[in-house]
Each structure stands twice: as C-alpha cells, then as structure tokens.
C-alpha cells in the first residue's frame, strides 16, 4: 500500500491539468502521478518533466530507455523497472541489450557502440559518486555526443534517480506506464 493515498478523481484544477498531460502522453494516469495528486504544484511540474523525458528528444527514446534501466539498477531502485523493460523492448531494443544493461555485460557486449558504453559508464559513476566524474569518463562522451545530448542524458539519468527514489519511498507500484504499446 502506498505511503499516501492515490488521488483518483482530483478536484484541483492544476492536478486535473497534470492528469490531462498524463492521459495525453501515457494513455492513462500512472500511479506515481496519482500519488503526487495531493500536491498540485509537485504533481504538475513533475508530471510535465516526467512525460517530456519519455519520448524522442536530442537522444532517441529507445536508447533513453536503456539508460533508465541502467540508472534504476545503479541506484538499486525498484520503481517501474519492469515497465521500462517492456517499453525498451517495444521500442526495438533486443532482449540481449536489455539483459546486458542489468549487469556489467554491457562492457564486453558487441551490441553497444562506444558512445553508448560511455553513457553507461557515466550512469554507474553517478551511482557511485557524482563528484568523481573525471575526464576519463567525459572525453569519450564528448567524442560521441553533442553538448545538448549530454545535458539531456545527464538530466535523464539524474531524473530517474529522483523518480526511482520518489516511487520507492512512496511505495508506488507501476506495472505499466503506458496504456498501449509504444513501438
């Protein structure tokens, strides 16, 4: 049972707008959004940010999903892991790729480019100590990604630190995020 009640039928206008954003993006209102529903400001701004992360941006969504899986693993977060495995597969990632980011096999896998491996290394280092991300990590990142992509990736990683911690702390179950297949 979540630590706070899920708000099923909001009356506050700002929460209703957050639910509208969620409905448009996810096809339904995810449980995390409902859990935030008792606080209009947080519900609205986090839902808006959350929805934007889960789509194509400067970085393709299919790769973003692998980064999300790696992030949740790196910080030991349980919230929505299964849902993101499903989305990653629907967006065309092979089972091998999805499996390899769940552990350290991505390092030796031929499925990933050097640029992708550099991102996974960043994820793991942020999980260990974000103060200690040195040139050995940034140089290969900068060789493979634009500044905009690197900001987007860093924001994605750290956003899912926030989402993972928030979902786990509030005890939210999220077996699926999108009402329909996204691929």
């Amino acid at each position: 049972m979540p630590a706070v009640a899920l708000v099923e039928a909001p009356t506050d206008e700002k929460v209703r707008d957050a639910y509208r954003i969620a409905e448009e993006h996810f096809g339904h209102v995810p449980n995390l959004v409902k859990a935030l529903g008792s606080n209009p400001d947080m519900c609205h701004s986090i839902t808006d940010f959350f929805a934007q992360a889960l789509q194509d941006g400067m970085v393709p969504w299919a790769f973003k999903e692998l980064v999300i899986l790696k992030t949740l693993r790196a910080i030991g977060a349980y919230y929505s892991y299964g849902a993101h495995e499903r989305i990653a597969a629907e967006l065309g990632n092979s089972m091998e790729k999805i499996g390899d980011v769940a552990n350290s096999l991505w390092e030796s896998s031929s499925e990933f480019t050097d640029g992708e491996k550099a991102v996974f290394k960043l994820v793991e280092q942020i999980g260990i100590d974000a103060n200690d991300v040195g040139d050995d990590i940034w140089d290969p990142l900068k060789a493979n990604w634009s500044a905009g992509q690197l900001i987007e990736l860093n924001a994605l990683i750290t956003t899912f630190v926030m989402i993972g911690r928030t979902g786990d702390a509030l005890g939210v179950a999220e077996p699926y995020l999108f009402a329909n297949a996204v691929g």
């Binding site: 606080n39 986090i46 942020i126 900068k142 630190v161």
Partner: protein
C-alpha cells in the same frame, strides 16, 4: 572548470532566456547550473519549473522546512554547490548556524533546535537518500503524526529533486559562482565530505579569494 560551456544570457535561445529571466527574478542572479542547461532548452525549462515550485513558501510546506530537507539531502550527497548556497538561503529564512550544524549525521535527533516534526522528516530524508524501499514503519508513523498526504508528497519530492539536481550539477562539474567565494561551508566544517573527490572540490573552493 565545468565539463561543458555555460550558455550566457546573450547567447540563450528564447526558451532559455525566459528561464534565465525567471531565475533572476527569483534568485537575484542566473546561477551557473541554469546556464549549463541552456544546451537543452526544453528539458531545462521543465526541469527548472520543479525547483521554482519548491523554492517558495508552499501552500502545504513552508520554505524554511524545505531548506532543512535540502541541506540534509545534499550534505549526504557531498554536494558542495548545493550545500554552500542553501546554507545562505536557509540562514536568510531564519535557520540559525547552530541549527545548521546539528543537521549533520544524527545530531539533529539530540538537538534542542529541532522540533519532533522536523526530526521525523529528517529521519525520513536519510532513508529516502539511502534506502527508500525500506523506510521503517515507525518513521512513517512519526511523519504522519505531523504531516498530511499533500505535505508528505512535497517533502519526498523535495528530497528527490535535490538528489537529482545535486548529482546533475556535480557530474557536470558546475562551479560555485564567485559571489560565494569566501563563504566557509558550515556543514562541511562540522563533518568533512566522505567522498575524496568532494574533499578535493572543497579544498579548491576554499582556496579561492573572497569576492570583492
């Protein structure tokens, strides 16, 4: 030096320029951490809205209380950038230096400067940072004695958001602005960083000449 260049206001696209204007109106300056998100305008706009919502007198949780959570969460993450700034912000809101000092470790539990409600949410904060899936029932019970659902959402998301932004800035090597030079971090004097890299950043910061 930050890993990527800052986007200065004169080079910002319209979306980022609006974020900078909002930040300056709220915080009296455009911090470096805002400037680095100028590389990804739409993402930056939505990310910063969360912080604009947190850093104000909320309808559910007062800013003073949120500053205690921010200090606790970012100190636990050894974030010099956040701790330094929020020591100053929280002091402006009335958090005394003695109270700031007592937030490290579990000192707040014994401190006369903290209410039972504050002690409960600082315990919650420690669990959210370290092990959120195993928050003890008695911690939740103590939190719920003092706070309703809307407040709990604001408390947990404030902690989560500051875990996010502290790691975001630290990973990118975002530097404290010269205006902070000369400030001696209180929390890190009370308890040094656990991260060797964070200690290095602290030594470098302390070597900077105070802003004139």
């Amino acid at each position: 030096m930050a890993t990527l260049p800052y986007i200065e206001p004169e080079d910002a696209d319209p979306i980022t320029a609006q974020v900078y204007a909002d930040a300056e109106a709220r915080f009296e300056m455009v911090l470096n951490i805002f400037k680095i998100t100028g590389h990804a305008p739409e993402m930056g706009q939505k990310m910063w809205q969360i912080f604009f919502d947190i850093l104000q007198e909320g309808p559910t949780v007062d800013w003073y209380t949120k500053e205690l959570l921010i200090l606790k969460a970012t100190k636990m993450g050894d974030c010099l950038y956040c701790v330094t700034q929020h020591e100053v912000v929280s002091a402006r809101l009335g958090v005394t230096e003695e109270k700031q000092r007592d937030i490290v470790g579990v000192e707040y539990r014994r401190s006369e400067h903290y209410t039972e409600a504050e002690k409960a949410i600082l315990d919650l904060c420690s669990h959210v940072v370290l092990n959120p899936e195993e928050i003890p029932a008695d911690v939740w019970a103590r939190v719920k004695e003092h706070y309703n659902d809307g407040q709990i959402v604001e408390i947990v998301t404030t902690i989560g958001a500051y875990l996010q932004v502290s790691k975001f800035g630290d990973a990118l090597g975002v530097e404290l602005e010269p205006v902070w030079h000369g400030h001696e971090p209180i929390l890190f004097a009370e308890e040094p960083p656990t991260s060797a890299a964070a200690q290095h950043h602290l030594d470098h910061f302390m070597a900077q000449a105070p802003a004139s």
